[in-house]
């Protein structure tokens, strides 16, 4: 309804960041070096290979879920024809743009399974297969080659989607052709479907199958909820970053932060709802093959990680983000975003690491090396993608609506 307030489109040069490419290259180099360091440490340290694989999976999944969050955001904005979000959509597009590379980085954990290395995925261990009747039942699905095919499909689908949407969005900056938007609106619905299926099975394959005896139908939704929280937290932080640099100053306003904050709040609640559903039903059903998974996460210091998630990922941010005042205050919102991004990492850590150190939570040097290594590659890619392209979809037909957006 805000179309009455006419706001002129921002100038291209003002909203196009420059000088990020160099920083991006630096980050890539730094990341690559740390990745090498991680691998070296993996070879050198005792039990290092197992930790390397776990740490690598943690790092890659963290950034893949960020990318997936970005993709989800982009798709949904087109699906529902949202107007308010146009000014932050480009940031999400760039996040999604990391998916092809991050997807490729999954290979180091997939390939070992082809050779019977069960340090990460125990189901890949031939001894395990020989001994476990349950695993033999699941072997048609849980085997290295099929996993490779599936991961290729996931990454392929993501790459296709990212390319299709990002390319058109960028092209529109030049042409202003509304048919691009129409094209994407039409394709958004089937794309969301493909997104949902790939994300679900990605979650099953890469995370749930770490404990191959365990299963939960809601698991895909759980990972999705976490990704969405991480996405909105990242969007807030990125928007603040570029507001600070100047590209988004006066474009992303308190109103947009308010809305991002609302969505962040909503998905914090959604994550809590899904996590509670999964936990409560398993707790109540009390079937050993299911409860074992939560039991593992209640052993030793894992208990505190679980509690940290309960409070840090749900209760505290829920209360903290309840107030309208917080959502409209940049620094308060940013603090919660930082916390939630961190909590998303803890969440994934909590999903992945108990198979490595069942006796209690532990962090190794390799974990840091993996995380900062993959993070360097991720950031490097991100900066280079952002560099030289307008951070605002300049000629998006709904840009005016977004610029003039007011929370009523």
């Amino acid at each position: 309804m805000s179309a009455h307030h006419h706001v002129s489109a921002p100038e291209r040069t003002r909203v196009t960041p420059s000088g990020l490419a160099g920083r991006g290259r630096l980050a890539t180099l730094f990341g690559a070096a740390l990745c090498v360091l991680a691998v070296v440490l993996g070879f050198v340290q005792e039990e290092g290979m197992a930790r390397l694989q776990h740490g690598w999976l943690l790092a890659v999944t963290f950034f893949v879920t960020l990318g997936l969050g970005g993709l989800f955001f982009v798709l949904v904005q087109y699906l529902v024809r949202a107007g308010w979000s146009v000014v932050v959509r480009r940031l999400a597009e760039h996040l999604a743009g990391s998916l092809p590379l991050m997807g490729l980085l999954l290979l180091p954990v997939v390939i070992p399974t082809l050779f019977g290395n069960g340090q990460l995925y125990h189901w890949a261990d031939p001894h395990e297969l020989a001994e476990s009747h349950l695993l033999q039942e699941k072997a048609p699905y849980l085997n290295g080659w099929f996993l490779l095919v599936r991961v290729a499909i996931y990454v392929g689908v993501w790459t296709l989607l990212v390319r299709a949407f990002n390319r058109r969005s960028l092209a529109q900056d030049d042409t202003g052709d509304p048919s691009m938007t129409i094209w994407m609106q039409k394709r958004a619905a089937p794309s969301v479907l493909a997104f949902a299926l790939t994300l679900t099975f990605f979650a099953f394959d890469m995370l749930m199958s770490l404990s191959y005896e365990w299963f939960s139908t809601i698991f895909g939704v759980y990972v999705f909820a976490g990704s969405a929280v991480a996405l909105f937290a990242t969007l807030v932080l990125l928007a603040l970053r570029f507001e600070g640099r100047g590209e988004l100053r006066g474009i992303v306003t308190t109103e947009h932060y308010h809305d991002l904050g609302k969505l962040l709040f909503a998905f914090v609640f959604f994550w809590g709802y899904i996590a509670f559903s999964q936990f409560m039903l398993i707790w109540y059903g009390d079937i050993p093959e299911e409860t074992v998974w939560f039991q593992q996460r209640w052993v030793g210091s894992w208990k505190y990680v679980s509690l940290l998630l309960l409070f840090g990922h749900f209760l505290l941010p829920f209360v903290g983000l309840l107030s309208r005042h917080v959502k409209r205050n940049r620094s308060l919102l940013a603090s919660w975003a930082v916390l939630l991004l961190l909590m998303h990492l803890v969440d994934l850590y909590w999903l992945i690491m108990p198979t490595l150190s069942p006796e209690g939570a532990s962090i190794g040097l390799i974990d840091f090396a993996c995380l900062s290594g993959v993070g360097g590659l991720f950031l490097g890619g991100l900066w280079r993608r952002i560099d030289g392209k307008p951070l605002v979809p300049l000629r998006d037909p709904r840009l005016g609506e977004s610029l003039a957006f007011q929370n009523l």
């Binding site: 309804m1 299963f215 139908t217 809601i218 939704v221 709802y273 039903l281 059903g285 093959e289």
Partner: protein, 482 residues
């Protein structure tokens, strides 16, 4: 004693540009309503329905049919209460038969109203204003129908107070660890909150009816119901804050209600019931069936009461899209359930799902899958989702499918319990069938009364989405409405 300071300006009738409400053109937002609407016309159009002097014959015919159905239901309930639950088909091993199926079915239908009122409100979806009153009313009537089944399922309805923590001679308390008790709290909280939400939304419109009422009875009735509302800015201020708060409260509530309903099944260890995706899957299914019901009722209602310019094809199309989306979610849950049943490796779980698709109830399962997953696929095509007949057909089938979904979950899993010697094939009795059929009578009776005497469209809210409602509109009067 009136001083006229300025002459009343005549309504400017600018020739309305022909706009396609279904346009996908991203460069402009199609209007939410068609034709020339202003505050006066909306008031007249909506109030006109409730103020009509002579009730149309068609209304009487529909009302008579509904009351007959309702009477049949109450007769069946009386028979049931007099004779006991044995008059139903419920027995071992299917101890939860049609009553629970019907309960979940009606509660599910009752989800769309609050969703439209609350969640779409939070999402700033202006189009909801045309249909939210209608959908909220539907919610409340559906919850009324839903509440009947668990209430009579306890067999001795006069003992229903055991469900609440009321001190009693038994000196015992309800078991709060039971999901059935959670249900009691969830459904009661939902019914009460929805009722308050609905009623609060109606207060300004009831005031409109009060101020226009001709007869003394109506003046008194609407006068009491509207509580002396004067539409003052201070009242609106608190009213809007309250509306926002209620929307914020109703949103998690609506999620929780069907989640809790799903807990009834999912906390157990029955194969086919104990699965973690049940809460969101049930919620999606509830929205799915609720929207289908709204569309089913809306199509004839807008035609019959002349509301086509307020509830446009666009409204119906959006609802069809939501039906498609939630239908896909339900289909997703079906698929994941099947996959995990295999992946989990538990032979009982595997059997439960193979039995669904290939056992004696395969007909029910495939009816469900067809109606819920295949049929809504028609809505991918814009031609079909904007065709009233297709829409009507799909929505009715969706509700058939959703009834069967509950049937599949409840009956199939129970009919094949862990002890093969007690396996049985569930057959409903005539009482089962007539009670369920009659519950539609209750639903439509309430609904027809609502259509006849209450504001069917939230006038005050619709007015807020008119361009004239915004400050500065006068300055841009020459601009086409957007």
């Amino acid at each position: 004693m009136v001083i006229t300071a300025a002459t009343e300006p005549k309504r400017a009738h600018v020739a309305a540009p022909v706009v396609d409400v279904l346009s996908d053109d991203p460069t402009q937002r199609p209007p939410l309503m068609t034709g020339e609407n202003d505050f006066t016309s909306i008031t007249d159009d909506v109030c006109g329905i409730a103020e009509r002097e002579a009730t149309p014959r068609a209304w009487y015919i529909a009302f008579a049919a509904s009351v007959t159905g309702m009477t049949v239901m109450f007769a069946m309930l009386g028979y049931l209460i007099f004779n006991g639950v044995g008059v139903w088909g419920n027995n071992q091993p299917v101890a939860w038969g049609w009553p629970i199926v019907n309960f979940v079915f009606w509660v599910g239908i009752g989800h769309a109203g609050t969703l439209i009122s609350a969640i779409l409100f939070l999402f700033r979806q202006g189009w909801r204003t045309s249909i939210n009153r209608f959908a909220e009313a539907m919610t409340i009537f559906a919850v009324c129908c839903a509440g009947i089944f668990p209430a009579v399922h306890i067999g001795r309805v006069w003992m229903a107070y055991y469900l609440f923590p009321i001190p009693n001679q038994m000196e015992m308390w309800p078991n709060f660890r039971s999901p059935l008790l959670w249900d009691v709290f969830a459904v009661s909280a939902y019914a009460l909150t929805s009722l308050m939400f609905w009623y609060m939304g109606m207060i300004p419109d009831l005031a409109t009816l009060r101020d226009r009422a001709k007869g003394k009875v109506r003046q008194i009735a609407y006068g009491i119901a509207s509580m002396g509302w004067t539409g003052s800015a201070r009242q609106w201020h608190r009213y809007e804050k309250a509306y926002l708060l209620l929307a914020g409260l109703a949103t998690p509530l609506v999620l929780s209600v069907h989640s809790v309903v799903s807990f009834d099944f999912a906390v157990s260890q029955v194969p086919g019931w104990h699965t973690t995706i049940f809460p969101p899957y049930f919620v999606a299914g509830a929205i799915f069936s609720g929207f289908a019901m709204v569309v089913t009722l809306m199509i004839p209602a807008r035609q019959f009461f002349g509301l086509k310019h307020l509830v446009t094809m666009k409204h119906l199309e959006i609802m069809c899209k939501i039906i498609l989306a939630t239908g896909m979610m339900v289909g997703y849950a079906y698929a994941i359930e099947f996959f995990i049943a295999w992946y989990g490796g538990n032979p009982y779980e595997r059997f439960a799902f193979i039995n669904r698709a290939m056992g004696p109830y395969a007909w029910a399962y495939w009816t469900m899958a067809t109606c819920n997953v295949l049929v809504p696929q028609l809505f991918w095509f814009k031609k079909l989702r904007t065709n009233l007949w297709v829409m009507m057909g799909v929505c009715i089938l969706v509700n058939v499918g959703m009834w069967f979904e509950r049937f599949v979950i409840t009956v199939i899993s129970l009919s094949r319990d862990f002890l093969p010697s007690s396996w049985d094939y569930f057959k409903p009795t005539a009482v089962d069938v007539l009670t369920f059929a009659g519950s539609f009578g209750l639903f439509f009776t309430l609904f027809l009364l609502f259509c006849r005497y209450l504001p069917m469209v939230a006038m005050a809210e619709v007015k807020t989405v008119l361009p004239q409602a915004h400050a500065g509109h006068g300055l841009h009067a020459e601009e086409p409405a957007r």
